[in-house]
């Protein structure tokens, strides 16, 4: 127990230092900040504008009103932003495998996955966070959500779970490179699929697809089920239950992904000089 606590302090200390270095790196290239600050929020605001156009043309999407869609959309973008901050490196895992970049992590006394994600922490992801929060708050106001403690806890737990689900999926996809020994840039495709399945009501898809996205690739838990239960849009309100399921699914996905990664790492071949 004492050792576990000491290890936790060690990881927290390194994390704090790594974030400090990430901020320093950002300051080193100030022109990048401006670019990211403009392009990233714009991307999501445009996406939201499209939803607004669709809703205004057709009234609703599958029974979800404009405010409810904003709530769902915002919730999805926030967990997307968090996963971009902590897990975006997973998109490039294949290159690390092929180029032998895991060598340095393996020779240091910390977990390899931890180092892989946290020494490459992407604080630019914050630029996605801002539009996410804005749209989410807008949705809250439109739907007349009462912001109390239960609601905040629900949102927090959901976001942690949702970020873990996204991160776990990136790890699972990235780890395939250990077996195929090729680098596939899956980032764009995954984001497309995740956007389409988490920013709109899942109930608008055929049941077979709903089944897949609930149990096999559990992206439904990222934002659809939590939002539906918080707003009661699908006829069920469930307090904390759905958020806790999201957290549970997130932990399960990340554990499975970690095991798959570690198994792959044993087959890691580095790269010749």
């Amino acid at each position: 127990m004492k050792n576990l606590f000491r290890e936790l302090i060690h990881y927290l200390d390194v994390t704090a230092h790594v974030i400090k270095m990430a901020v320093m790196t950002v300051i080193e290239y100030p022109s990048n900040i401006a670019g990211w600050l403009i392009s990233n929020p714009l991307q999501f605001i445009m996406g939201f504008a499209i939803i607004k156009f669709v809703v205004e043309s057709f009234g609703q999407i599958n029974g979800w009103t404009y405010g409810q869609l904003a709530f769902l959309y915002g919730l999805s973008v926030i967990s997307h932003a968090l996963s971009m901050i902590f897990f975006v490196q997973g998109w490039f895992m294949g290159y690390y495998v092929i180029e032998g970049e895991f060598d340095r992590y393996l020779t240091r006394p910390l977990g390899v996955l931890y180092q892989f994600f946290f020494t490459n922490i992407n604080i630019f992801g914050v630029t996605d966070l801002i539009p996410g929060i804005l749209v989410f708050l807008y949705g809250c106001v439109k739907c007349g959500v009462s912001v109390n403690l239960t609601f905040l806890v629900q949102v927090m737990i959901t976001l942690i779970g949702a970020t873990l689900i996204r991160g776990g999926i990136y790890i699972l996809l990235g780890s395939t490179s250990f077996y195929t020994r090729s680098a596939v840039d899956f980032g764009q495709y995954t984001q497309e699929i995740m956007d389409k399945t988490t920013m709109y009501p899942l109930s608008m898809y055929p049941e077979s697809i709903q089944f897949i996205l609930t149990y096999l690739i559990p992206v439904g838990w990222i934002s659809f089920y939590p939002a539906a239960s918080m707003l009661g849009t699908e006829g069920v309100r469930s307090g904390l239950t759905v958020s806790l399921v999201t957290l549970g699914v997130g932990i399960a996905v990340i554990l499975i992904a970690g095991a798959f990664f570690n198994r792959g790492l044993k087959q890691y071949e580095s790269a010749g000089n």
């Binding site: 060690h10 790196t25 080193e28 393996l106 006394p109 087959q267 580095s270 000089n273």
Partner: protein, 321 residues
């Protein structure tokens, strides 16, 4: 310090047939072939030794050193560092090793060099006074004081390698692994690197394991060499003893005033071109002075030189075996 027992590593190679047809065939019926890179090697390294691994490209040197430093998981056998298995207790054992891999850097490209050291200080949980002492010592050996505030991306290769050497020693490991550290370096950077290795070995008694293609590195640094070829140890031992055993001869190069060169009954004439002849003799049977004396009785000698069998001959012989 290091015990390597029956260490093996197999790679799985996907064989691909040429053309579109081959590609499609490979897609449905992949042809996997297991290629042994390292086959059942064992050796022991004592604390404070400097050991050079040499061998041709693809012989298994890098694979061996990468298994010893915990990067690759062995197919069979074990690597013990200070009695602990590095594959089973990676996080604990790597606290005791430092690693510098030639063309690969562990430094943060965007920030000043000192920031990379600061990160390692946190990663290895080094106390401030130990950290300061190590950096002072490294500054004395390598003179890094002048580059510590420079962004790594602006450094020359030589400066970057210095930075990587210091980074590998920040946590004062007992064992240092260097995989082709002098590759691409100019003469002065090579000199600085060799001086560094000698110093940390002398002062800190650090055990050093390096692979290299540079004969100068070996002659300057290594008392012991391990020659690897086809994934197996061809030679393991004291450098000068190996030279004496594999190449127990010298070559006398004699230049005459014309093209006739006399034979010597206890030497082998290995070459005769124009006015120059080369006589190879066994060191234990003859001295160069005797050979010169015998030859000058037969014919007037214009000029002579003596060639020692060197490390490059050893390598050539070992590689061809």
């Amino acid at each position: 310090m290091i015990d390597v027992k029956n260490l093996s590593k197999d790679y799985v190679l996907k064989r691909k047939e040429p053309g579109l047809r081959g590609a499609i065939k490979g897609l449905f019926r992949p042809d996997h072939r297991i290629v042994p890179a390292v086959r059942d090697i064992s050796f022991h390294i004592d604390p404070g030794e400097i050991v050079g691994f040499i061998g041709p490209n693809g012989a298994g040197k890098s694979t061996t050193i990468k298994m010893m430093s915990g990067i690759l998981t062995p197919t069979g056998g074990s690597v013990l560092i200070a009695g602990r298995d590095i594959t089973k207790h990676r996080k604990e054992v790597v606290r005791n090793i430092g690693v510098v891999f030639g063309q690969r850097s562990q430094l943060n490209w965007d920030l000043r060099l000192g920031e990379s050291f600061e990160l390692l200080k946190h990663i290895y949980q080094i106390r401030q006074e130990d950290y300061d002492r190590t950096l002072d010592e490294m500054d004395r050996i390598l003179g890094i004081g002048e580059i510590i505030d420079k962004p790594v991306r602006q450094m020359s290769l030589g400066q970057r390698v210095k930075g990587d050497l210091v980074a590998s020693m920040i946590h004062s490991p007992n064992v240092l692994f260097l995989d082709e550290p002098t590759i691409g370096l100019d003469v002065s950077a090579k000199y600085a690197l060799r001086k560094f290795i000698k110093e940390i070995n002398r002062v800190r008694k650090t055990t050093v394991i390096l692979t290299t293609h540079d004969l100068g590195d070996i002659q300057e640094l290594c008392e012991r060499i391990i020659i690897i070829n086809h994934g197996q140890i061809v030679e393991d031992g004291n450098l000068s003893q190996i030279v004496d055993r594999i190449a127990p001869y010298k070559t006398l190069v004699v230049e005459y005033y014309d093209e006739f060169a006399p034979e010597h009954d206890r030497c082998e004439m290995t070459e005769h071109k124009g006015n120059v002849a080369r006589y190879r003799f066994m060191k234990k049977d003859l001295t160069a002075a005797e050979v010169i004396a015998d030859l000058s009785k037969k014919k007037t000698i214009k000029d002579i030189s003596i060639e020692e069998a060197g490390i490059d001959d050893i390598i050539k012989i070992a590689y061809e075996s």
